[in-house]
Subunit: 137 residues, 4 copies
Amino acid sequence: MENSALPHIEYEVPVMFFDTDCGGVIHNLAYLRFIETARTIMAGQMGMRLAEMAAEGLYPVVLRSEIDYLSPGKFGDRIIVRGGVSEVGRVRFWVEFEVVRGEDGTVLAKSRQSLALIRMPGAKPERLPAEWFRART
Amino acid sequence: MENSALPHIEYEVPVMFFDTDCGGVIHNLAYLRFIETARTIMAGQMGMRLAEMAAEGLYPVVLRSEIDYLSPGKFGDRIIVRGGVSEVGRVRFWVEFEVVRGEDGTVLAKSRQSLALIRMPGAKPERLPAEWFRART
Amino acid sequence: MENSALPHIEYEVPVMFFDTDCGGVIHNLAYLRFIETARTIMAGQMGMRLAEMAAEGLYPVVLRSEIDYLSPGKFGDRIIVRGGVSEVGRVRFWVEFEVVRGEDGTVLAKSRQSLALIRMPGAKPERLPAEWFRART
Amino acid sequence: MENSALPHIEYEVPVMFFDTDCGGVIHNLAYLRFIETARTIMAGQMGMRLAEMAAEGLYPVVLRSEIDYLSPGKFGDRIIVRGGVSEVGRVRFWVEFEVVRGEDGTVLAKSRQSLALIRMPGAKPERLPAEWFRART
């Protein structure tokens, strides 16, 4: 899915009861939380020092989020989020992630998001540092 | 935004501290929770008896969700979700919602989602009851 | 439950699928979210201008929270949070809330929490303004 | 904190933006989510096959939860949950957890919870299997 020359991650999420609903499946919002967790951990690996950046008022923010729900996940499934940066512009970058059931490789959800680096207060976009988007070797 | 001949809603959400993050703004996932709340309340108004349906294994499920984040919302803002059903197919329907700051009408986020009526277990889509989509007068 | 001479509230919470889990009941953490919502709305009624206070670095914070889960709530139940301030000290106050099923009055959960008014950064407690704790008539 | 002859765990939680609030600190409800995550992972290590149990209608449920918030945690802190089973009765057991900042060992929150094993529907407590509470060596 991801361009392997760009940063990517594979992250296993422990699924909790609070991630499921009374329909017996993982709730649609939980998938976006799983993806945000994987994306944030990847950001650290990319060299974003999020806590220091936050102290200066710099935040990566989601501009757009798309997700397709393909198959229901359940409590007890081994849930893996995999994907990474798919495209990099001057002030915006795109990430693509799949949420996969580890036991059989079924893709449960696929998402695409665009993000920018914003300076608060004022929400002004900053130029993206090129070094974040170098592939790790 | 919504076709006024189709069901729609305007719903004010009380914004809590847990809806915000340390960037001082409403978190991206909270908007989707706000929209889900408005959509679920609208579903009741449309005649979906969700608790009875759930007891029979019938659930409305989100198939795809798109959201654009346009402007940051803050704790203390009066947050209004407005929108409704925009299109109805045989087994799938679409909803469109805006999240608006009540004080000045600024649109903070715009979303479009498709849903189906699913019978669990098995996740088979059911034909949508036409009476749900009659406009209320 | 609450001392009627002190501020109190009765608040109906719309229960969402994301408040339930695959056990078919409302999740234990959701009750605390319901209580926080009622407590925050009551705070506004008490005269706490939370957004203005936050802009100055003043926050009401929970110091201790106790909750007993007495009976399981379900999707479709009419959930009412009722209670209020039970005791006021110099820098700390206590609130007590019950979460009740509206249909039959069953108490699903009972909680007691203590809070203080904290100035950030530094987390120093401030003297509580007496006017917050006057009963509304 | 925990009786070392009883099951226990030490678990590092990745802190996300959605765990914090506009006060710049980790939100009080997030600590309880962190503890639930550690407790659920420990349950698996204790031999609770939660997904199989859920399929049979057996769930560990929280009966009572107490938490003291001692010091504010922040985004960027290394958050460790440590603790375990502290007492075992016939149908009820207790767990105690601390949430600690890894950088300096500061205890941010301390909690005590009691749980039972419940059969749904009906919410009847079951006798606790003794083998769950044997210490791992």
